[in-house]
Point group: C2
Chain length 334, copies 2
């Protein structure tokens, strides 16, 4: 048993999974979804979905966004992928003594703008300040409340062989933009973060396509970790075609130089969905009409309804099994 | 205009008020209650109340509780004082690399226990980890969702002259317990934090007493700041009788030595309420039957429906005006 928290406990991979199982699920029990991400609340307050996330991204400003925009898009997307219409967001700020008020205003302003774009209302907030050195600038927690749509929610129980796996665009843009903004590695690219609210795109999709099995936003841990979780949770095997996975050339180049695998890098404006194979073309068409889905591709399929593995077919004809992100990749990516 | 965040911006007093007005209300607009505390949501998702809070208390463990228990009680009480039945809580954790897993388990366990006592469900969570030195141990954000009761909510619009101001127990216990736990000032007392979930107590009260004008939990900024806000928001003048305000002898002693005023110290298990004067005795009886209300007292009255001032009548027959907490008192009290 691990005794102390390591950075890798926050990366959304294997160690995060263990920590959640070992600490939170044990105490909070079945009330908490094991993924501890969005909770769907049947009962008293009808048809509500709830999600919470803390944002600790470093640096706070990066190409394509900042911690505030990211907090809104991340929360909106968490709700949207579980089939809810995002309605309300709360925002809790932890500020380090000495943080520039002008930076705070910029961040808060971009939260307000992104909330307006997404059509959500910021309804409650809180501010705490800690001494210089007790936090790194600014952390934000956002909790989102959404309303489950009347249209059928994604239903993973209906997954079947040959269902298509679709990604809405290029992978790894957010991860590489953060790396580039850190400038720690002497790497400068013009890659910007893909962070965007996808709820309108997702609503168009779910309005039209009634055979969506599951949708997820592949953030921390990347596409590979997200799909490994789906394979394990529903005991299906998914085969990805490496050749079909859209990755920007400069993202791939940066990854090659730095030794990262774009399948494990965080995305903040992408969804991966599994749909009935007969609806894959229609789904692609809808996605590609949208600015945030124009690079959508079918990247693989459900190849079997057993054994719960994620497989990658390489261009050389070989197949390898992908695991959850394990250990350290990029701390504080979101 | 202030350029950088100071610790006093987090103390719940005048500077917090200015920061909220200047930064958050400007960007988030009217959707946000100016107090930015609980939001009551009419409309789509009916009769829901929502609150969010970040907890950064230092030290994490203190006599009578820890940061986890405090997060639950604080969130439960925020919902209960606005007339809602607390139902669901989300929890976001920001952990410093190296934080002991055993401490995390203890904290999470006391959250689970306190949630059970209060009858709320912890439904979603999130964990982020930052590098050693980028946070101080552990911060928790909790967001609570409650259901507005059918019984009439407190209605501040009905406030009238001679309405009674009641406090549910002794003031300053939480503040002094934190001071004592810090041991910075060479002060050791056996005062324990009053942190407790008051929702059951509040439910009994609101079931019986139909003339409650307003209820608040006097946390950061203490009783004085809470009442100043009520006086300003509703333009009433309140007169407190200093002699009637219940304060433990050891709390008063610690305050005398250290130069703190218990009226400004944080409480985490107290409510202040304003009720029709004819119902004050009945309210006291109900409160005193409850373990968390046994030291309840009438401490003053609404003396006029104008000018929005909080006044304190001293035992010497003089009267002085109390203001919002201004500047630094005790950072990281919750």
């Amino acid at each position: 048993m691990v005794q102390r928290i390591g950075l890798a406990h926050g990366e959304g991979g294997e160690l995060t999974h263990q920590l959640i199982q070992d600490v939170f699920v044990k105490s909070f029990g079945h009330g908490v979804q094991t993924k501890l991400d969005s909770a769907i609340l049947p009962g008293m307050i009808e048809n509500m979905a709830v999600t919470t996330d803390s944002f600790v991204v470093n640096p706070i400003f990066f190409p394509g966004g900042n911690i505030g925009k990211l907090a809104i898009t991340g929360t909106v997307n968490d709700l949207a992928v579980c089939g809810a219409i995002p309605r309300f967001i709360t925002a809790g700020f932890i500020l380090e003594e000495g943080f520039p008020v002008n930076d705070l205003k910029k961040i808060v302003q971009s939260m307000a703008e992104e909330a307006e774009r997404a059509g959500v209302h910021i309804i409650a907030g809180d501010t705490k300040v800690v001494e210089k050195g007790s936090a790194d600038g600014l952390f934000i927690n956002t909790t989102g409340i959404g309303e489950l749509r009347e249209a059928p929610c994604p239903n993973p129980e209906e997954m079947k062989k040959r269902d298509a796996v679709i990604i809405s665009g290029t992978l790894g843009d957010h991860g590489v933009s953060i790396l580039s903004a850190r400038n720690e590695l002497g790497l400068m690219t013009d890659v910007t973060s893909d962070c965007a609210s996808l709820n309108h795109l997702i609503q168009e999709l779910t309005d039209e396509i009634r055979g969506i099995r599951i949708m997820r936003d592949p953030t921390r841990g990347g596409l590979a970790t997200t799909l490994v979780e789906i394979c394990e949770d529903f005991q299906v095997t998914i085969e990805l075609e490496e050749d079909c996975i859209p990755i920007r050339k400069d993202v791939q180049g940066a990854c090659d130089i730095l030794g990262f695998d774009p399948l494990y890098l965080a995305n903040e404006g992408k969804i991966v969905l599994i749909v009935d194979s007969s609806l894959a073309d229609r789904a692609l068409t809808i996605l590609r009409q949208h600015v945030f889905g124009r690079d959508a591709e079918v990247i693989g399929q459900v190849s079997s309804l057993e054994s719960g593995k994620l497989l990658l077919k390489t261009p050389f004809g070989t197949t390898r099994r992908l695991q959850r992100l394990s250990g350290m990749l990029l701390p504080r990516i979101c």
